[in-house]
Structures are given as structure tokens and as C-alpha cells.
């Protein structure tokens, strides 16, 4: 057990190092830099070259890539992610303020995606040849295909402008959470429902299910006891992928619904070439992905004894 944990820790640290260094390389190789962004903010688009050069020197953007990365890494391991050049606040303060909002948005959406996705998937598998299944298939396809920003505006126009049931934006209580959650959840719910439906349909045609039916077990009991657990493996994989995407894919939702979370902050930081903030954001997102995928691994091992055996064997 200890060895397994140690192996996971080492691989997590390696992933974080690779991801942050790659981000550093990308930031340096992309046109645009923090000095220019600050100069334009101070003096407008016609800022003087002298001003840009001075900021360049102040921010030590001239030093070599390994030196810059080394300095950042040295501080990061001590918990100091530096200061955001865009806002003047420390990156850790920014993350502390914004991460809970994104987490709240992502978790709410994940719950909706799982409940709706599983529900629709099971219904679709049970009623395989009926009209309901066809409608759910179309619904799932629409949920996956409709662009998030368009769906957001449709809902805002209908539910806020026309009916005035929900606020357009902001974080002002439960009513204001519904639209962002739903919009963020829909593509994931659509994908999960299709995977659940296909795996369950496949499982339901297996011999053990036929045997259960032959024993006279009620229909729903067969689905829940003999079908779903066997369909769980593939479903967990797609769920893990989409929950991860909920965290990082919240940019549009955060912007449209004025929800100042990590996603929109990260994109704005990239646009400003706010290097410290970008690296801080990448670190958090990478960490979140690692935790989610490892978490799903654990759940899969709990639900599938074959995986536990494989680990012991290894």
C-alpha cells in the first residue's frame, strides 16, 4: 500500500513539473509579454519603447528561461506563487478567492450531470426501442452539440429577460446558481447518458442478466443489481473525463454568468501574459486533474475486484 501511494506521489510531482515547465516554455515562445501589457495599461496602445524596456528589466524578463523557471519553482515549493501583475494581489490570494467558486460551480454541475446523465441513460436502455429512448438520444445529442455560450444566452433571454424567474448573472443565492450549473452540466450529462445507455444495453444482453430474468427477478431489480454494476467501468471513465472538463471548461460559463472563478481568471491572465498567475492556474488545474483521475481509479478498484487483483499481482 505504502509503495503504491509513493509511486502515485512521485508520478504526480513529475506531472506537475512537466506541465509547469511546458507552460513556461509556451509563455516564452508566444508573442506578447507582461511588460508590454503593463505599459499599454499605463500609457495606452502608443506606449513608448523606453517604458516597455524599463518594465522588461524590472520584471527580469531578460534572464534565461531555466533561471526564471528555477526562481519560480524555488518559491513555489515554499508556497509563494508570486504576485499577479494584472491585479497586484498575490497569486495564492487570487486562487484562494476564486477556486471555491469554480469548485462550487463544478460540483453543482457534476451532481446534475451525473443524476441527469445516469437517469437518462438508464431510461434509454430500458426503453430501448420506444419513443422515450429516441427522444433521449436526440436530447443527449443536442446537449453535447449546442455551444455553451448559445445555450447560456437562450436561457438568459427566456428565464431572465422574458419570464424574470432567474437572475441573469452574479452570485446571489440559489436562483442565480441554477443556470450556470445547468449550462455547464448539459454536455457532460449528454455524454454520460449515451455511455450509460450503450454499456447498459450491452450488459443487459449478457447471460447473467438473462438468467436473473429467468429466475423471475423484477425488471428494475435486474437493471439495478445485475445491469448497472457491470456497466459502471466505462461510465466511470467518461464521468472522470467530464468532471475534469467541468473544472477547466467553465470559462465561458464564468464569463457569461459573471461568476468570477478560476476559469475566466486563468484565460484573462493568459491574455495579459501574467506569467505568475498563469503558472499558478496551471498548477491548480493539473492538481485537480490528478486528484480526479486518481479518485476515479480508487472508485474503480472498489467497484471492480479484477483491478484490485491486477494491482496486487503487479
Amino acid at each position: 500500500m505504502g509503495k503504491v501511494v509513493a509511486r502515485h506521489l512521485v508520478s504526480a510531482v513529475a506531472v506537475l513539473l512537466v506541465v509547469t515547465f511546458a507552460t513556461f516554455l509556451l509563455l516564452r515562445s508566444t508573442p506578447g509579454n507582461t511588460a508590454t501589457s503593463i505599459a499599454v495599461r499605463q500609457a495606452g496602445p502608443g506606449a513608448s519603447q523606453e517604458q516597455v524596456d524599463r518594465l522588461h528589466a524590472e520584471l527580469r524578463l531578460d534572464s534565461s528561461l531555466p533561471v526564471q523557471y528555477g526562481v519560480w519553482l524555488g518559491r513555489a515549493v515554499q508556497g509563494d506563487l508570486g504576485r499577479s501583475d494584472r491585479s497586484g494581489r498575490t497569486v495564492t490570494d487570487e486562487i484562494a478567492a476564486k477556486a471555491p467558486r469554480t469548485l462550487f460551480l463544478g460540483l453543482g454541475a457534476a451532481v446534475i450531470a451525473l443524476v441527469v446523465g445516469f437517469g437518462a441513460g438508464v431510461l434509454s436502455a430500458v426503453d430501448r426501442r420506444g419513443g422515450l429512448a429516441a427522444a433521449l438520444r436526440v436530447g443527449a445529442l443536442a446537449a453535447v452539440s449546442i455551444p455553451t455560450f448559445w445555450m447560456s444566452f437562450l436561457l438568459i433571454v427566456l428565464l431572465s429577460e422574458q419570464l424574470r424567474w432567474l437572475p441573469t448573472s452574479g452570485d446571489r443565492g440559489f436562483a442565480s446558481w441554477i443556470m450556470p450549473w445547468v449550462v455547464l452540466a448539459l454536455p457532460a450529462a449528454g455524454a454520460i447518458s449515451r455511455v450509460v445507455s450503450v454499456s447498459l444495453t450491452e450488459t443487459m444482453s449478457r447471460q447473467h442478466v438473462t438468467a436473473a430474468r429467468a429466475r423471475g427477478a423484477p425488471g428494475w431489480s435486474v437493471v439495478l443489481r445485475d445491469g448497472l454494476p457491470h456497466a459502471a467501468g466505462a461510465t466511470l471513465n467518461v464521468t472522470a473525463m467530464h468532471v475534469g472538463m467541468l473544472l477547466t471548461g467553465s470559462v465561458i460559463v464564468e464569463t457569461v454568468f459573471a461568476w468570477p472563478g478560476l476559469g475566466a481568471w486563468f484565460v484573462d491572465s493568459v491574455k495579459f501574459r501574467d506569467n505568475g498567475a498563469v503558472l499558478g492556474g496551471v498548477l491548480v488545474f493539473a492538481l485537480a486533474f490528478i486528484l480526479i483521475t486518481r479518485g476515479i481509479d480508487v472508485v474503480q478498484k472498489i467497484t471492480d475486484p479484477r483491478l484490485r487483483k491486477a494491482e496486487v499481482g503487479a
Binding site: 496602445p45 506606449a47 523606453e50 419570464l163 424567474w165
Partner: protein, 505 residues
């Protein structure tokens, strides 16, 4: 589920306005309001901090914290007579010593030299409680106008920076900062304000980054005011939609900026004939009609006529046949679909910004229109869309042939756009040459009105001869308010909101 939940929550947003409060949408959070830094939202700073001199409609300089001022005949001394009885929000007196202390934070300091005031003022003296004297190394007539901008020229209570380090936003303005977060900013009326205090008691800035959501929030009754170039911009398409909406009032103000098509003189566009042909091929009327809210907005000069000393406005000539003749005469021969000269194809790189902020306009659709127009002429235009940070770097590095830019607008113009876009020291010049440097220097040094008009006209004439740019559009200044808002008028410039006469209900 949606319907069921909505039924429980009832109407949300529209009725959450406390009495005497106006809710204003802002695209950016209030941020850090340190007056000497460049981090905070302009309007929030403008509500809290005041200048010595205010920028009025049409560029008229008006008394603010200085009741009057005298400029010495040699232009080397400017004396400000400060208003008596003004106090900061913390009760500290605003006097000549407080003013001097503030000015010394940025005048002569590195990092503020983009304002020439910072480099020409050599001494700041408080000769008595209400008299402040600035000594200059050379006459600089635009100094008074430079003192009207939002940062870093305004005044913080010295008690709010006890060790010289900013602590909290304490100014003399009509609004006192109460609180701000990433989502809101709350300001309450300064009941001890030296001028006419606003009727409203409270201003709530609500941060809504997306412009379409802001329009919806106004229509849904969640905010009372949107608009302004920096506050919460409304584009021409949204303005057209709002104009036909009886639940809101759209106000349209005269433009103070121009979007220009600019050329890189070190590229193929460095050849005058190429620039002239592109100018003649650009159908500015149609571009405005389709993309920018109508032909009334066609630009006719480097500045719109609302900017002081904007010079003669000239109608743009659109003549595609003449454009072809100009290129023929210059030796650009049509070979198939593209013109060629000395074995080189006339292919130009148009740099476009994907995320235009900081006063730049969205020019991507104009780029497409231009690409079509030039294709018919045998000029291949390659559109290259980059983000803003990359755009400024690419322009500074000269990695473009054509680009769009926008002038600064009030209260900066004409001086700041001219010195920033028309001089050899700029990172992103619209046009730069030593000859033009000299003309610009004459213009910014001129002091009387006739001299100023003539000097600026000389700059515009020079640019005209060079075909240094193509003026595209003068975007109107849009604001939209709910029908409950009364007394709101378009402010003198886009960094200011005058809420003094505004009432709700």
C-alpha cells in the same frame, strides 16, 4: 426541474435595489484603487478622487479642486488657487501641502514619464495653504489638460498613506468607497462634498464581463445603467437592438475616437501607391452602414470633430477603378488574380485583435470586408488574428503590414494620441518620421488657439499627403438606462459618470 425551481424562487434580481441606489454594470472589478498605480477600474477611481482641473464637454477646462489658475506669460510657472473648505473623506483638509505631497508621488518619478507633465515640472511649492506653484523646465501648454485624467494625477488623503504607502481609497470626490469585491463595488454619497452632492445615496457597481449579459441584465431590471467605452461597452449591434426596446432608454453621444486602418512603413505598404490604392478600395460608407451603426459614423480625419483642434474633416474617396490605375502606374501588374512587381506578389498581412480592450475596437469583420475589396483589385490580404498582448508585441516588432488602431479619446486628445501614435519613440506608431516629430513638437508646444489649430492642421496635412492611414469609423458613445432613471446625461468623457442630477423612480 428548471420550472419547478424557478417557481419556488420567484422573480429574482429586479426588485433587489435599495431606495436611493443606482446599480451600474461594469465590465471589470473595482480592483486596487491606489491612485498612483494602474490597477483599479477608472470610474471607481473617478468617483472617489478628484483632479485640480476638470475636463468639460468639448474639452473646456473647468475648475475642480483648483478654483482658478494662472499661467505665467513665459509659460514656465503655473499657479493653482485651491478651493477653500475641501476635506478628504476622512476629514483631513485638502490644502496646498496635501496637493504637493500627492504630486510628488509621480512628478519626476520613473514610470510616469509617459505623461510629459511628469518630466517638465521641476519644482512643486505650496506658497500658502491654498496656493500651489508648479515650475516648468519648458513651456508645456497641454499640462492643464493632462491634469484632468484619472490616474496618477488625482489626490489621496495623506492620512491614508502614513508611510507613503497607499492604504485605502480616501479622496475628496462625491462618492465614498464603502466596499468592493470581485463581483461588486459599493459607494455611498459624500454628505460633506464641497460641490453639489448627488441626490442618490448609493452606487452599486455590478461586475458583468460579458456585454450581451449586461444588455439582458438591463432588460431584466437587474441593473439601471450600462454603457461607456470603458465602463460596460455597448457595441453598434446591441445599440440598434436597445434603440427599439421601449423598456430602456438609449443615449447616443458624439464620438471622441476614430478607428484607423494603419500601415507599416517598413513593409510593401511603405510604398505610397499601395497605401493610396488600399485607401481608394476601402468602402468606408458601406463598412459603416453594415457594421458600425450607419453612415453618420463615417470617419473623416485623424480625430472626430468633437476633439479640440481636430482640423479639416475630409470626405473619404472610394474609387476602385482609380485604385487599379494607381497600382498599374506604380508597376504592379495583374498576373492572374494577384498583382506582381519585380517578381514579388502584392500580398499583405493584416493583423487583427481577437480580444480588443483598452479602447481598441473589434475590427475583425472590417478585416473581412477589406479582404474582399482588395481581392478584386489583385491585392491578397492575409488576416492574422492574435490576442491583444501578441498584437502590441507584433506591431512593436514591425511584424505586420496593415493593422487597425483606435485613437485615445477625451480627455487625452489631441495631445496624447498625437505624441503616442505619431512620434518615432512610440512602440506602435501610426506614422513616424523625423519630419513628423518636428510638426508634432510644434503642435504640442503651441499655446494660443489660432497657433494650435494651424499647428495641428500641419500635422494632419502631412499625414494626408503620405496617405498615412485610412479613417474608418467614429464610434458613437452609447449609454442605456432603465426607464426609471431620470436626469442622466452623456458625460464629458468616457472615464467619468456624472450622477449629480440622477434620480430613480
Amino acid at each position: 426541474m428548471l420550472v419547478a425551481t424557478a417557481g419556488l424562487t420567484g422573480c429574482a434580481g429586479a426588485d433587489d435595489r435599495p431606495d436611493g441606489t443606482i446599480r451600474i454594470a461594469t465590465a471589470e472589478p473595482v480592483g486596487n484603487l491606489n491612485p498612483w498605480e494602474f490597477l483599479g477600474q477608472f470610474h471607481a477611481m473617478d468617483m472617489v478622487y478628484e483632479p485640480l482641473v476638470a475636463y468639460g464637454h468639448g474639452g473646456v477646462l473647468e475648475p475642480a479642486l483648483a478654483q482658478r489658475w494662472d499661467v505665467a506669460p513665459d509659460g514656465l510657472t503655473v499657479t493653482f488657487h485651491l478651493r477653500d473648505g475641501v476635506t478628504f473623506h476622512d476629514g483631513t483638509a485638502f490644502d496646498a501641502e496635501a496637493a504637493r505631497w500627492n504630486l510628488e508621488h509621480w512628478i519626476g518619478e520613473e514610470g510616469y514619464d509617459f505623461l510629459r507633465t511628469s518630466t517638465v515640472v521641476t519644482d512643486i511649492t505650496a506658497t500658502d495653504d491654498l496656493t500651489l506653484v508648479l515650475t516648468l523646465s519648458e513651456p508645456y501648454p497641454p499640462l492643464l489638460q493632462e491634469l484632468t485624467i484619472v490616474r496618477p494625477v488625482r489626490f489621496l488623503s495623506p492620512a491614508s498613506a502614513p508611510d507613503g504607502e497607499y492604504v485605502a481609497p480616501i479622496g475628496t470626490g462625491p462618492w465614498v468607497h464603502e466596499s468592493s469585491t470581485d463581483t461588486t463595488g459599493v459607494f455611498v454619497r459624500n454628505d460633506d462634498y464641497w460641490g453639489t452632492a448627488p441626490s442618490l445615496e448609493r452606487v452599486e457597481l455590478r461586475v458583468i464581463p460579458d456585454s450581451q449579459t449586461r444588455v439582458s441584465a438591463l432588460r431584466a431590471g437587474e441593473v439601471d445603467l450600462i454603457g461607456g467605452g470603458y465602463l460596460s461597452p455597448i457595441n453598434a449591434v446591441e445599440a440598434a437592438a436597445l434603440a427599439g426596446d421601449s423598456s430602456v432608454t438609449l443615449l447616443t453621444g458624439e464620438a471622441d475616437t476614430v478607428m484607423l486602418l494603419t500601415f507599416n512603413a517598413d513593409s510593401l505598404a511603405g510604398e505610397r501607391a499601395v497605401r493610396e490604392a488600399i485607401s481608394l478600395a476601402t468602402d468606408v460608407e458601406s463598412i459603416n452602414d453594415v457594421l458600425y451603426g450607419g453612415t453618420d459614423n463615417v470617419a473623416r480625419g485623424f480625430f472626430p470633430s468633437s476633439v479640440p483642434h481636430s482640423g479639416t474633416q475630409r470626405d473619404h474617396v472610394h474609387d476602385i477603378e482609380r485604385a487599379a490605375r494607381v497600382l498599374d502606374d506604380a508597376g504592379w501588374v495583374l498576373e492572374g488574380d494577384v498583382r506582381v512587381k519585380d517578381g514579388r506578389e502584392l500580398t499583405l498581412d493584416l493583423l487583427l485583435v481577437s480580444d480588443p480592450v483598452h479602447g481598441l475596437m473589434d475590427s475583425r469583420t472590417t478585416g473581412q470586408a477589406l479582404q474582399d475589396a482588395l481581392a478584386g483589385l489583385g491585392v491578397v490580404l492575409v488576416q492574422r488574428v492574435v490576442d491583444q498582448a501578441a498584437y502590441f508585441d507584433e506591431v512593436a516588432a514591425g511584424k505586420y503590414d496593415l493593422a487597425f488602431t483606435t485613437t485615445y479619446g477625451a480627455p487625452y486628445d489631441p495631445t496624447n494620441t498625437v505624441t503616442s501614435y505619431l512620434t518615432t519613440t512610440s512602440t506602435s506608431p501610426v506614422w513616424a518620421s523625423e519630419e513628423l516629430d518636428a510638426l508634432v513638437e510644434v503642435a504640442v508646444s503651441a499655446s494660443d488657439a489660432d497657433q494650435l489649430d494651424a499647428a495641428y492642421q500641419a500635422v494632419y496635412d502631412y499625414l494626408d499627403v503620405q496617405v498615412a492611414f485610412v479613417p474608418i469609423t467614429c464610434p458613437p458613445r452609447y449609454y442605456a438606462v432603465s426607464t426609471q432613471v431620470r436626469g442622466f446625461t452623456i458625460p464629458a468623457h468616457e472615464y467619468h459618470l456624472d450622477l449629480t442630477a440622477v434620480v430613480i423612480g
